[in-house]
């Protein structure tokens, strides 16, 4: 465990020094600011605009971070041969992977917290009763959980392929997972058996990111239970992250440098 934490700490330190992270954070804050500025385009629905635009910005920034951190950290270390130095120490490949994942997750958490403060402030300002419901915090936590799955996906893909492929494939997973219900519809309605099978498999295998989308609940003032997020949604995240990391380890373990 100590080895995992040490690698996580090193990964976190390395990540927050990257300028690209600062750019992403500024972009996220800009998106939230833009959501407030543009909300005047949506007369009578300013608050709904801020929620939709702000949370979507959160999701996309999460995707960007997952792709940048997950897709580049391992291939870069392999290219620069840093991985040899680490793995010659008494550190297993599983510990290395988990350490990398935890470090990147911590970096994303810090960015999300900073953006979250700005988003909650924007929400409080625009919400007619100046009331911040529990559902808002749960929505932000749900976005973070979704980002964790994307990060694990990027880490898994980066163990077997180049960074470029990882970026494209993680983006594909995000798109298919975000429109899971349409992929499911295609698997039920398509004309070709082959296409139906392909869409059916995609709908089942790729994580369903609509499980994490609480925008509709926020927009319609629907209360969301903490138990729902802490139970099945967190469980779903743990299951997917564990599965992706196990697969990543199986492939990374076979890899010869």
């Amino acid at each position: 465990m100590q080895a995992v934490l040490a690698i996580a700490k090193a990964t976190y330190r390395e990540s927050i020094r990257q300028r690209v992270l600062l750019v992403v954070l500024l972009l996220g804050l800009l998106l939230i600011g833009v959501s407030v500025a543009f909300s005047y385009l949506s007369t009578g629905e300013e608050f709904r605009f801020v929620v939709d635009f702000g949370l979507t910005g959160f999701i996309l920034i999460g995707l960007g971070l997952a792709v940048i951190l997950g897709g580049f950290m391992i291939p870069t270390e392999i290219d620069r041969r840093i991985v040899f130095t680490v793995l010659t120490k008494p550190v297993s490949r599983a510990q290395y992977l988990w350490g990398k994942l935890l470090g990147a997750a911590l970096t994303i958490l810090v960015v999300d917290v900073l953006m979250g403060v700005a988003f909650v402030a924007a929400y409080y300002w625009k919400q007619p009763q100046h009331n911040v419901p529990l559902a808002l915090y749960l929505a932000l936590v749900a976005v973070f959980l979704q980002t964790l799955i994307l990060l694990a996906t990027a880490v898994f893909l980066s163990t077997i392929s180049s960074s470029a492929f990882t970026v494209i494939a993680t983006g594909f997973v995000y798109i298919v997972g975000s429109v899971n219900k349409y992929v499911t519809q295609l698997s039920q309605r398509g004309d070709s058996v082959l296409l139906k099978t392909v869409f059916g498999v995609l709908a089942k295998v790729i994580p369903n990111f609509q499980n994490f989308d609480l925008r509709q609940a926020l927009l319609t003032s629907t209360p969301v239970d903490l138990g729902h997020l802490a139970g099945p949604v967190l469980g779903y995240t743990v299951v997917y992250v564990a599965m992706l990391m196990a697969l990543a380890w199986l492939l990374f373990n076979e890899r010869e440098f």
């Binding site: 385009l41 979507t56 989308d213 299951v239 599965m243 196990a246």
Partner: protein
């Protein structure tokens, strides 16, 4: 640990994770497809039992749990998970009427973002909006894309490209189906603005019907608010003067939080038909609900009672001659009272409608040759009502229907319609639009 054992353990973990994913997904779906009725903190057990009974009647298995209301106070909630077969459907039938249960604070139709059927995507004009729609569905900036399209829609409308309203509005509502104004304003554009520019009554009727159909599509997404029901109800009331349908929709609107005039709108609808007993009932409902503040209802109860109630009771008993005599006498007395008091005479619409209804009821009860003669009287009565008030579309519709049924089309003026077009609607059209051949161009003058 042995490497092969670790590998096996990793594979077991992968298989277990795949297997676990399905029940977890099922649990999330069940949560997202549960209807929640949140009661006020002071709700009685009988109120909660009533909410439960509504669900039980529909075959659901509700349960009562502790919850917090929108204001954060502890209260009770009734949860009703939907069966799997209903997960992809709209939840409207399950939530309709729940607001009429006493002490219900909030009805939540599940947080499942109901899937937009793919056939709706196919209806879009792909060149115009399809790409934006698909990008927004995937990218997630749905509300923002909907706003941009809505602004474009407004611009199109004000620059005379009203025909592009429908595909754009459809794209907007697809991106943001909870954008109530998009459903309501598109219905209004079609039924009120585009229909008056129609080239024929048939086209105008079709545009009004399209507007109503469009708004109807928005109900499942916004069935917990009154606005769309009210818009449809108002279009039936004002534009089509189909007062029965208007009352139906207004009744659905008042099941949700609504402005105070809606109960009166139901009463006005019945009054104009007329259905005097129903009108009185709804004026009383409005007065009881809003008390002395509702002066309109108080005044309406007085005038209806003195002008029409006696005649209405005779009419309901089938005494049509008595009803007609009573109506004439009460109406004359009411007009005289107004003259004596120096007030303007009351609008004769309801009186004329009532006369025509008596004539129609008498005709429908008659047999043989007498029947046609009596229907002719009903036709004249409706015609008189329409002549008295040219915007009386109920009277015009009855005139057209009777003329159609009895072959009296020659008695109906040319261009007569019940959709609000002027009778000379064909006058301003170009010859080819009236179905005539285009005149040959004039020969060029010699220089």
């Amino acid at each position: 640990m042995n490497s092969s054992v670790t590998k096996r353990l990793a594979w077991v973990l992968v298989v277990a994770a795949v297997a676990l994913q399905f029940p977890l997904q099922e649990s999330i779906d069940r949560y997202r497809n549960t209807i929640r009725v949140i009661m006020y903190p002071d709700a009685r057990d009988t109120d909660i039992a009533q909410a439960q009974a509504r669900f039980t009647e529909l075959g659901l298995q509700p349960k009562v749990v502790s919850a917090r209301g929108a204001d954060g106070r502890p209260t009770k909630a009734v949860l009703a998970p939907l069966p799997r077969a209903e997960w992809s459907a709209t939840h409207e039938k399950y939530i309709r009427g729940l607001h009429s249960v006493p002490r219900v604070n909030q009805v939540v139709a599940g947080i499942n973002e109901q899937g937009i059927p793919l056939d709706q995507v196919q209806q879009l004009n792909i060149q115009d909006v399809g790409i934006i729609v698909m990008a927004a569905l995937i990218g997630g900036f749905r509300k923002s894309a909907a706003n941009v399209l809505w602004l474009q829609n407004e611009e199109n409308w004000h620059s005379g490209k009203g025909y592009r309203t429908i595909p754009l509005a459809r794209a907007v509502t697809m991106l943001d189906p909870n954008f109530v104004d998009a459903w309501v304003l598109t219905c209004w554009h079609l039924a009120y603005n585009m229909s008056v520019e129609a080239k024929s009554p048939d086209e105008a009727a079709s545009l009004i019907a399209q507007g109503l159909k469009f708004a109807e599509e928005g109900i499942p997404w916004n069935s917990t608010t009154y606005e769309i029901y009210q818009e449809i109800g108002w279009t039936y009331y004002d534009k089509l003067q189909n007062y029965e349908r208007a009352a139906e929709y207004m009744k659905q609107a008042i099941e949700h939080r609504h402005p105070t005039y809606l109960e009166r709108m139901i009463a006005h609808s019945y009054e104009r038909l007329p259905e005097i007993d129903k009108a009185l009932k709804w004026y009383h409902v409005s007065q009881q609900k809003y008390g002395e503040a509702d002066q309109t209802a108080r005044g309406a109860i007085e005038t209806i009672t003195e002008r029409y109630l006696n005649a209405w009771q005779l009419f309901r008993r089938g005494d049509y001659d008595g009803a007609e005599r009573q109506l004439e006498s009460d109406w004359t007395a009411a007009c005289e009272r107004c003259s004596r008091a120096g007030r303007t005479l009351p609008s004769s619409t309801i009186y004329l409608h009532f006369r025509a209804r008596i004539a129609e009821a008498r005709a429908s009860a008659a047999k043989g040759g007498e029947r046609a003669k009596l229907y002719e009287q009903a036709f004249s009565a409706w015609m008189a009502a329409a002549k008295e008030n040219p915007s009386d579309r109920l009277a015009r519709r009855r005139v057209l229907t009777l003329a159609d049924n009895f072959g009296w089309k020659d008695r109906v003026p040319k261009g007569y319609n019940d959709v609000g077009l002027p009778e000379n609607w064909a006058k301003d059209l170009a010859p080819e639009q009236r179905g005539r051949s285009k005149p040959a161009p004039a020969p060029a003058k010699k220089s």
